[in-house]
């Protein structure tokens, strides 16, 4: 490969995403990383050591010797954190699976409707975004209340005799998450299914493959990039989800987002909160790296 000399404009354009990442990801990440190695203190800011550049070399030295792994040891010793991580991963995994099971048929149906209607359906899928996310979750709080519309419906239809409790349960969390994240699963799936070459399905039929089998042998493998994109787009933010479990879920077993919030704002323990956050980032970076790897392998082929 021969490198062409790049124009100033090109270099600027290329550097933009990097600049964005440095400013809004790398710098905050490093700050949080630094805090996670500090100790809590009743001061402002509420941790020690603070980097004091006015003290020169000595100040830097004092800063580095003041850092420790204590917060990470704490994470290992207190089961609260571990349970919190497990719960978050569990909820994220199950709800992503549910999203896939619900979202795939929706996306498939959209891609198979006549072209003219498809644009309308895409708008309909995105319609919830026109209302603030927070307001929609409040609406769900109302729906799921003991004397809310859901229970009213269930009672009128004689499905239940006693109104069940929805709020402050994991079920409510799942309902909220699946409802909120569905567009993020449907849209990437729709994007690949809509591009799927119809003649491939006909070729499969021509070669003796019934429709249901064609789905497994052709449609599903060819839509795997969309499945992967949808899964990542849902799984990663769901792991760190805070608002939905906080408003719809119970307080017994918090998700990791709630734990971080507790440490930061409840206990004012910034260093522990930071350590929890750093571990979370590391947990989430793994699937992204896997995804990248997959994408690279796919890219080499085409």
């Amino acid at each position: 490969m021969k490198k062409q000399p790049r124009s100033l404009w090109q270099r600027f354009a290329i550097s933009l995403p990097y600049a964005w990442l440095v400013a809004f990801f790398l710098v905050p990440f490093l700050i949080v990383l630094k805090i996670s190695f500090s100790q809590g203190a009743i001061a402002l800011p509420p941790y020690r050591p603070v980097l004091d550049l006015t003290a020169g070399w000595q100040g830097i030295e004092r800063f580095f010797t003041g850092l420790s792994f204590d917060n990470y040891r704490l994470l290992g010793s207190d089961p609260l954190y571990l349970l919190s991580y497990v719960k978050s991963l569990e909820i994220a995994a199950f709800s992503t699976l549910m999203l896939l099971v619900i979202g795939y048929p929706i996306a498939y149906g959209m891609a198979r409707t006549p072209r003219r209607l498809q644009a309308v359906l895409v708008v309909l899928v995105m319609l919830p975004f026109w209302t603030s996310f927070l307001i929609r979750i409040y609406a769900w709080m109302n729906i799921l209340q003991r004397d809310g519309p859901l229970n009213e419906l269930l009672m009128t239809l004689h499905i239940v005799r006693e109104p069940p409790v929805w709020l402050a349960t994991d079920t409510a969390i799942y309902i909220g998450i699946v409802y909120s994240y569905l567009p993020f699963m449907v849209l990437p799936l729709y994007a690949v299914l809509e591009k799927l070459d119809e003649s491939l399905l006909e070729a499969a039929a021509d070669l003796g493959c019934p429709r249901w089998k064609t789905f497994w042998l052709v449609t599903l493998p060819l839509s795997s990039p969309g499945v992967l994109a949808g899964v990542l787009l849902c799984f990663i933010p769901i792991v760190g989800e805070f608002v939905i479990p906080d408003l719809l879920g119970g307080s017994r077993a918090p998700m990791i987002g709630q734990t971080i919030w507790m440490e930061f704002f409840g206990n004012k323990d910034w260093p522990t909160a930071s350590a929890v956050a750093i571990v979370l980032v590391c947990l989430l970076v793994t699937p992204i790296v896997v995804f990248q790897h997959q994408a690279m392998r796919g890219g080499e082929r085409s």
């Binding site: 070459d197 003649s199 491939l200 006909e202 070729a203 499969a204 039929a205 021509d206 070669l207 003796g208 493959c209 019934p210 429709r211 089998k213 042998l217 052709v218 493998p221 060819l222 082929r301 085409s302």
Partner: protein, 379 residues
């Protein structure tokens, strides 16, 4: 076997049923397909015989692909039936029809290797692994792709992809193989080569091929019989030489190769046509129409002689001025303006180089042809 209402209807016999072959392999009867108000296939009847290489020839958009898709089962006909081996295909879904189609786009599975693409159809039949592997290997060898079995389609050239598509169909040993413009995406050199390989394969495997093409020379070379299509209808079904020498209509004569047409009326002796732009034209064989019937006389450019000097016999000759010369290498096409202002084309083989007396533009020349050359057309 399904008994449909259409069965009791009297069927029009195909214009070219082969003698001594009582039942065709594939019989198409009064088949119609409408898209909205547009008739893509219009009351089409056709018989195809076992072991035949049949070509559907027609301009783009005349319904060739639609006809193949009807046979393969991807489209449902609005009327008519398709009978294979005596069985009405109407209730048979595409995946159970013993025909295979090679798509114009090839439609190779991009996520599968060449081997897996070729094996796909055999796996659906539930054959034992060993047999599948053996047949796939044989087929890949037959189309000279044995070294590329583990590649994915997007790692192949256009010609290689075409072979994979062909192998994927052939390995199923279909009763009828439908090929939709199988050579259209190849460059000319490869197309010429592949054409002969296709004929060779068809003969070797003893299969029945129905090929779709808009390229008349391709149809002429490969096919035993050609069906010429226009606007959803079959205009003529015949052997290539018959289509060329004895076209059934002006449209076919004009579509297949170049032709000069002269309008006139049948002479009283039925051995001439009078009142054409070239005067009275003599015809060798008696015309099967009443005297004074309006007809067209068609003459192929290569049957027309071109000379500076007036030919000795005065029949079937006309004077004109050369307006244009198209040099094609092996032949040159001379466009000659005749007395009534119309143009006549004459093809002259460039056999002995450019002699000193070769005609030039604006030369006054004589055109002539023998009484055997013209084709008399009623419509």
């Amino acid at each position: 076997m399904q008994i449909t209402g259409a069965k009791d209807r009297p069927t029009k016999s195909s214009p070219a049923s082969v003698d001594g072959n009582p039942r065709p392999l594939l019989r198409i009867e009064g088949l119609s397909k409408r898209f909205g108000s547009f008739m893509a296939v219009d009351r089409l009847s056709l018989d195809i015989h076992a072991g035949e290489f049949f070509a559907l020839l027609g301009p783009s958009g005349c319904g060739k692909t639609t006809l193949l898709r009807l046979i393969a089962g991807f489209e449902r006909p609005n009327a008519g039936r398709i009978v294979l081996d005596g069985v009405d295909l109407a209730p048979v879904p595409p995946y159970r029809r013993p025909v295979n189609m090679m798509f114009q786009s090839y439609a190779l599975f991009p996520h599968l290797t060449v081997e897996a693409n070729v094996a796909f159809g055999l796996k659906q039949e539930g054959l034992p692994r060993g047999e599948i592997a053996g047949r796939v290997a044989d087929m890949l060898a037959l189309v000279k792709l044995e070294s590329l079995g583990t590649r994915k389609p997007n790692e192949l050239s256009g010609g290689q992809r075409q072979r994979v598509a062909l192998a994927r169909c052939l390995v199923k040993r279909p009763r009828v193989l439908l090929l939709d413009e199988p050579l259209a995406a190849l460059d000319k050199k490869l197309r010429d080569l592949t054409r002969f390989e296709l004929m060779e394969l068809q003969r070797q495997l003893g299969l029945t091929f129905v090929i779709v093409t808009h390229d008349q020379s391709e149809a002429m070379i490969v096919a035993d019989r050609i069906g010429v299509m226009d606007r959803g209808r079959l205009m003529q079904v015949a052997a290539p030489d018959e289509i060329y020498e004895r076209p059934g209509s002006r449209w076919v004569a004009d579509f297949v190769g170049d032709i000069n047409l002269f309008e006139g009326r049948v002479g009283d002796d039925r051995l001439s046509v009078e009142g054409t732009a070239a005067g009275r034209l003599r015809i060798a064989a008696p015309i099967g129409a009443e005297p004074r019937t309006p007809v067209w006389v068609a003459v192929r450019p290569e049957r027309i002689r071109l000379s500076h000097d007036k030919p000795p016999n005065l029949e079937n000759c006309l004077a004109g001025t050369i307006v244009e010369i198209g040099y094609l290498g092996d032949v040159s096409i001379y466009q000659v303006r005749i007395a009534d202002g119309s143009r006549v084309k004459a093809a002259v083989a460039n056999t002995d180089g450019n002699g000193g007396d070769s005609p030039q533009p604006a030369d006054n020349v004589w055109l002539s042809f023998s009484p055997e050359a013209p084709i008399v057309l009623m419509r």
